[in-house]
């Protein structure tokens, strides 16, 4: 496996913030990994994801994805990077309400200049189990369906890296399980996934690696399904964090 993401001594301080959202974080993600970033609210896990997605810039340190230093890219370069290399799944789906499900899915492809991506868009919806929603508007879809549409949108350009920020946070348990099963299936097919969640059970059930973040620092980094760290151990760490 080769290294896909490398964060070196990354600090992020928000305007007016006294303490950083991230404080000197270094992290490496290999191609094909399913990594869960876990931590309580305000721990800095979403900030970490945003920096890797090129949605935000670090105050210091460097973020490299596929050996590209995101700090050296301008706004247009970052937009191209997101379009070509990253698929992002949000907690609240963020589908464009004026577009149908299929039109939402196709947007990244069309922004890339691939105007004839209809077939792939429909195929993705079919793969994700929702071919019938293609021509429906988001307001007419359930939360689970909307999140699958969002995943299809994230996958339309064959991204190197799929980033998911609390993808089940706005869903009921059943829909959440379906979405996580879907991500696991994508991982089995070779997709590199970086998942942010505060749900330890969710993280340990599907991810092969769990990175625990607290107060802007990585406090634990565990490879699961190995003899090194059993899942229960990671859950215990999470439990300790919560009790502080």
């Amino acid at each position: 496996m080769s290294e896909l993401v490398r964060l070196t001594d990354v600090t992020k301080v928000y305007q007016g913030g006294i303490t950083g959202a991230l404080n000197g974080v270094s992290l490496s993600v290999e191609q094909g990994e399913f990594t869960a970033v876990m931590g309580p609210s305000g721990s800095g896990k979403s900030t970490l994801l945003n920096l890797i997605a090129g949605l935000d810039r670090p105050t210091s340190g460097s973020v490299l994805v596929r050996a590209m230093d995101l700090g050296r890219l301008g706004e247009s370069g970052l937009a191209r990077f997101r379009r070509d290399h990253v698929g992002f799944v949000f907690q609240f789906f963020h589908l464009l309400p004026n577009l149908t499900a299929l039109e939402n899915v196709l947007i990244p492809a069309q922004l890339k200049g691939r105007e004839r991506a209809d077939a792939r868009g429909r195929k993705l919806l079919e793969t994700l189990g929702i071919p019938e929603v293609a021509d429906r508007y988001p307001a007419k879809l359930s939360g689970g369906q909307q999140q699958r549409v969002a995943i299809a949108r994230a996958l339309i350009n064959n991204p190197t890296l799929l980033l998911a920020d609390e993808p089940t946070g706005a869903l009921d348990t059943h829909s959440g399980d379906q979405v996580m099963d879907l991500l696991a299936r994508l991982h089995r097919d070779g997709q590199t996934i970086l998942l942010v969640t505060h749900d330890a059970k969710l993280a340990t059930r599907h991810a092969s690696r769990v990175v625990s973040v607290m107060d802007g620092k990585i406090v634990d980094d565990a490879l699961l399904d190995t003899t090194e760290r059993p899942a229960a151990d990671v859950v215990r760490v999470r439990g300790e964090e919560s009790s502080r």
């Binding site: 949000f90 004026n98 577009l99 922004l111 508007y137």
Partner: protein, 773 residues
């Protein structure tokens, strides 16, 4: 009340750009409206004031020199005039001032006072010897002839030299740029400057009350009946002079009023749009306001105040600015009448403007403000944001079929997502583009009309001949020039037309006059004796139409005429006749031309030609290049139109800017999502610009025919006020490419206006926008 004020002011501070849009658009609309109202309230006063102050003549009548002066003097009693002046001995004087020659009716008068037509001396003193002359200030200023200037009289063989000793204001004649002018000398001086056949008498009458046009016509008819045939050779009444004086103000005021209504309508549309946008964007906040105890009416008051505060501030600046801007036009009127100019304003009028503007703005804000007041707090807090607009799917599909880039397709789909907002924006754009179309068209129409009136392009040189020089000698000089291609001789004569009180000035041509370039509204140019053309006003007042035969008379001789065409001619507000030389020579065999309209051969130099002809006869010919310049009043109208077009176009730009601002703010999360999935800043700008461009395109496509229609309407209005129908050529001033270019330029301007909100949208912080759930 404090809570309402605090909330309204806090919101205003937060929405500085929207407040600025309201301030600027209201300022422009109120400024224009104030200017119009100030002019409207003052436009008729200066002339009336001066007319009363100077005991203006209701009627001036010219009598043939053969008429008994005692009989003329007795006509005052015959007409029941309360006061009269004259009979003044008069002559048509030709004089040379520097290198220029002028012809002017000059009257013998002992002093400038008297019971009628008092002359107001603005500079110098009244003539006290036979070699002194008084001119109108209007003429002196137009031709730059100061007090003390020597004038050589060239219409008599002795060529006496006169000194200008006075500049006067005469309420009984129009300004020099629109009308022929009078001059005055001592009565004893008149015989020495009177050429053969140029003498006449003038009598002025004033009545107890202002007579109507019909009464004045009856008076002239009574004079004709009472005196020997041919005694009355000309007349003019105060109604025509007043109309000529007021026409510029009336046109400017009409245009200003019409366009200030436009400006206010556009501002109302923008305000309604703005408040609707604020309500839509502030759903959750409105819910919270109501939850903490604001009543529906208090919510309405908060929104109304947010609009009324910047609007009131705009009025405080706009009303004085509009009053100030109207002063030059008022000063111009006062100056022309010799009245002392004092800055004019009316507190009452200003208060009416203030109340009116605030009422319009408040009404525009009322519906969306009430909508906000009626929202149910639980629902809006739970929903957090306003209902989404239309999908715009049809437009997107259409744009996609055109294979436009995706950001443009999305922008096109967003353009009409909020139909009411789009319609209100369209109103602002429509008014802006329509005004620009009018501002583009009217000056061209004026130029076309001016070219017709001045024979521009068809006559290169105009030669005025002194009566002392024979027609044959003048023609010999002109025809001897190698550059002469065509010569049309011209003279003027007053005809009596049945149904028309004042004698009608006829322009009589010898030679190929059909190529002079006069605009024929209907019918054809005359082709033989007895055939005449006349403008609408004459035809209407004389109950004539094309094909009608009627009997006119000139110097007591009957002349049978037939109307063969309707012509455009603003002289005497559409009371003139155009005819062939043979028509007049049949009754006046000795008639000679006053001047010659000369067309030069291609390549001939106008200046060289003028020099050669002048040199050939220095004293008795006045040779000038044809003056085709546009008269000052038309320039004023053109300028006012241009300013109005800019003002309303700016309001239109403000409208589209406002809409885009609301759209981009309302869709900040959508934009952030698009950026998150890879839309580049440039593509975001393109998306916003596409929405603007489409609205502007639709607005432009609707506005161009509206503008062309408005141009026709205003042109007709102006033509009618000048006693004419609009000639077809004056309508046809827009090229097909231009009509396409106008909406295209509108699109470009809208796209430019979209750059600022577009760039704001492009700079959307994705993380902040998407996490602000």
């Amino acid at each position: 009340m404090t809570a309402i004020l605090v909330k309204a002011i806090t919101d205003l501070k937060r929405r500085r750009i929207q407040a600025t849009v309201i301030f600027v658009t209201t300022l422009l609309a109120v400024g224009t409206g104030t200017m119009a109202l100030t002019l409207l309230s003052q436009a008729h006063d200066p002339y009336q004031t001066a007319f009363e102050a100077q005991q203006g003549a209701h009627l001036q009548v010219a009598f043939d020199s053969g008429t008994d002066p005692r009989a003329i003097a007795g006509t005052a009693q015959l007409l029941g005039a309360t006061a009269s002046g004259g009979p003044y001995s008069a002559t048509s004087l030709e004089f040379e001032a520097g290198s220029r020659k002028f012809s002017m009716d000059t009257f013998g008068r002992a002093d400038p006072g008297g019971p009628v037509e008092q002359l107001r001396i603005t500079s110098g003193r009244w003539p006290s010897s036979n070699d002194e002359i008084a001119l109108t200030r209007s003429f002196s200023e137009l031709n730059n002839i100061p007090i003390g200037q020597k004038l050589k009289v060239v219409s008599v063989a002795q060529e006496p030299v006169l000194t200008v000793v006075a500049q006067v204001v005469d309420i009984d004649e129009g300004s020099a740029d629109l009308s022929s002018q009078h001059a005055w000398m001592l009565s004893s001086a008149i015989p020495a400057v009177t050429a053969k056949n140029s003498a006449f008498y003038l009598m002025t009458y004033r009545f107890a009350t202002d007579p109507s046009s019909a009464q004045l016509q009856a008076d002239v008819d009574r004079l004709r009946s009472a005196l020997p045939r041919g005694s009355v050779t000309g007349s003019i009444n105060y109604i025509l002079i007043r109309n000529v004086f007021n026409i510029t103000n009336q046109i400017v005021t009409s245009v200003l009023v019409a366009f200030s209504v436009f400006a206010l309508a556009a501002t109302a549309a923008i305000v309604a749009n703005l408040v609707t946008g604020i309500v839509l964007a502030g759903y959750r906040e409105i819910g919270i306001m109501k939850a903490v105890g604001f009543t529906p009416l208090q919510v309405v008051a908060v929104f109304e105040l947010q609009i009324l505060i910047p609007a009131a501030a705009a009025c405080l600046v706009g009303i004085p600015a509009g009053t100030l801007a109207s002063q030059p036009l008022l000063a111009n009127s006062s100056h022309a009448l010799g009245l002392a100019y004092t800055p004019t304003f009316s507190v009452g009028l200003d208060l009416v403007t203030l109340a009116g503007a605030l009422l319009v703005v408040a009404l525009a804000a009322l519906v969306p403000a009430f909508r906000a007041g009626l929202l149910k707090p639980v629902v809006v807090i739970a929903n957090a944001s306003a209902p989404r607009g239309q999908s715009g799917r049809g437009l997107r599909r259409f744009a996609a079929r055109l294979r436009l880039p995706r950001p443009v397709v999305i922008g096109v789909g967003d353009a009409f997502a909020r139909p009411a907002r789009a319609v209100l924006t369209l109103v602002a754009i429509l008014l802006g583009v329509a005004t620009i179309t009018v501002a583009l068209g009217l000056p061209r129409s004026f130029t076309a009309i001016n070219n017709s009136e001045t024979n521009a392009g068809n006559v290169d040189v105009v030669v005025h001949k002194s009566p002392a020089l024979s027609d044959a000698d003048a023609l010999a000089i002109i025809n001897a020039q190698p550059g002469t291609a065509r010569v049309v001789a011209e003279t003027g004569e007053n005809f009596t037309v049945p149904g028309i009180g004042d004698p009608v000035n006829a322009r009589i041509f010898r030679g190929d006059s059909s190529h002079l370039g006069y605009m024929v509204v209907a019918g054809r140019w005359f082709s033989g004796p007895g055939e005449v053309l006349a403008p609408k006003a004459l035809l209407q007042d004389a109950h004539l139409k094309i094909g009608d035969h009627f009997n006119a008379s000139v110097r007591g001789s009957a002349v049978p005429l037939v109307v063969v065409g309707e012509i455009y001619d603003i002289n005497n507000l559409g009371h003139s006749l155009f005819m062939d030389w043979a028509t007049l020579s049949a009754v006046e065999p000795d008639v000679t031309p006053d001047g010659y309209l000369i067309t030069l051969s291609p390549g001939a130099s106008v200046n060289a030609y003028v020099q050669h002809v002048s040199a050939a006869q220095l004293d008795l010919l006045d040779v000038q290049p044809n003056n085709t310049s546009i008269v000052a009043p038309v320039k004023i109208i053109d300028t006012v139109l241009l300013i109005l077009a800019i003002v309303i176009a700016l309001i239109g730009v403000g409208g589209i800017f406002n809409t885009l601002l609301l759209n981009t703010r309302e869709r900040v999360r959508d934009t952030a999502t698009l950026k998150a999935v890879g839309m580049s800043p440039r593509q975001v700008v393109a998306m916003v610009a596409a929405a603007a461009g489409l609205i502007a395109l639709v607005g432009g496509i609707v506005a161009v025919p509206v503008g062309v229609g408005l141009h026709r309407y205003l042109l007709d209005l102006i033509s009618v006020s000048a006693g004419n129908d609009t000639p077809p050529a004056a309508y046809a001033v827009f090229g097909p490419l231009e009509l396409v270019a106008i909406p295209v330029i509108g699109v470009l301007v809208a796209v430019a206006a979209a750059l600022i909100p577009g760039r704001w949208a492009a700079r959307t912080n994705v993380v902040e926008a998407l996490h602000a759930e």
